[in-house]
């Protein structure tokens, strides 16, 4: 699955995007986030405050409990500050 990061989350993870093969038991946005944290210190640092993390599935805002099934791209980013 394609995983993309933005803003300080991207800086902390160290790459703007990557392909990750999530284990079969990873079925929700929240599961994906927890799996990423297990991948290394840069991920643990990036996701250290889950309340500040927002996510999107295939370019639509997604809640932590949203299922990954069928999605091709998951994005993680901080609260938005546009406008």
């Amino acid at each position: 699955m394609k995983v993309v990061y933005f803003a300080w989350l991207r800086e902390r993870v160290g790459v703007p995007e990557e392909d990750i093969a999530f284990p079969v038991e990873v079925s929700t946005v929240s599961d994906a986030l927890n799996h990423l944290i297990s991948l290394g210190e840069n991920y643990a640092y990036a996701f250290e405050r889950p309340s500040l993390i927002r996510a999107a599935l295939d370019r639509k805002h997604a809640k932590p409990e949203a299922p990954l099934a069928g999605a091709r791209e998951i994005a993680f980013f901080p609260p938005m500050t546009g406008g």
């Binding site: 639509k60 609260p79 546009g82």
Partner: protein, 153 residues
């Protein structure tokens, strides 16, 4: 009813006058246009520039969804939104929202609503560049922007 919704995400500066002219020219049913322009401030001289990162694709789609929602809530005649990304100097425009309607109440409400949701829902992130090349900090989201959304429920 489907109205013209024009959303653009671009690095280039925008021309408010040309956009408003394009919105109203040849239309004699529009009685009111509300144009919101958001500018880059220098924060009392502290800022050299803002840098805006965005999520290509989702930025346009999310703003379009917000515009469609506004068009369902109020009798708008057209909506146009331009949001810039990249480096923006103090005094330059960052975002332009144009809402037209037959009467003023819908035009005000539509532009206000789109700006509110755009602030908290459109995938853009601002980084500050300080004077003298100091390393930039990412701007934190304001609670007041989230609270502002509560006005519309």
């Amino acid at each position: 009813m489907s109205i013209p919704i024009d959303v653009r995400v671009q690095a280039e500066p925008f021309d408010e006058a040309a956009e408003q002219k394009a919105l109203v020219t040849g239309r004699f049913d529009i009685g009111a246009v509300v144009a919101f322009t958001g500018y880059c401030r220098d924060e009392g001289g502290r800022l050299e520039a803002l840098e805006l990162e965005h999520y290509p694709g989702m930025a346009e789609e999310e703003i379009t969804r917000i515009c469609r929602e506004a068009a369902e809530r109020w009798p708008l005649l057209s909506l146009r939104v331009i949001h810039r990304f990249g480096k923006i100097d103090p005094g330059e425009g960052i975002v332009l929202v144009l809402a037209s309607s037959a009467h003023r109440a819908a035009a005000f409400a539509g532009a206000d609503f789109v700006m509110d949701f755009l602030k908290s829902r459109a995938p853009f992130w601002k980084k500050e560049h300080g004077r003298g090349g100091t390393a930039g900090d990412w701007v934190s989201a304001k609670d007041e922007d989230e609270n502002s959304l509560a006005r519309w429920v």
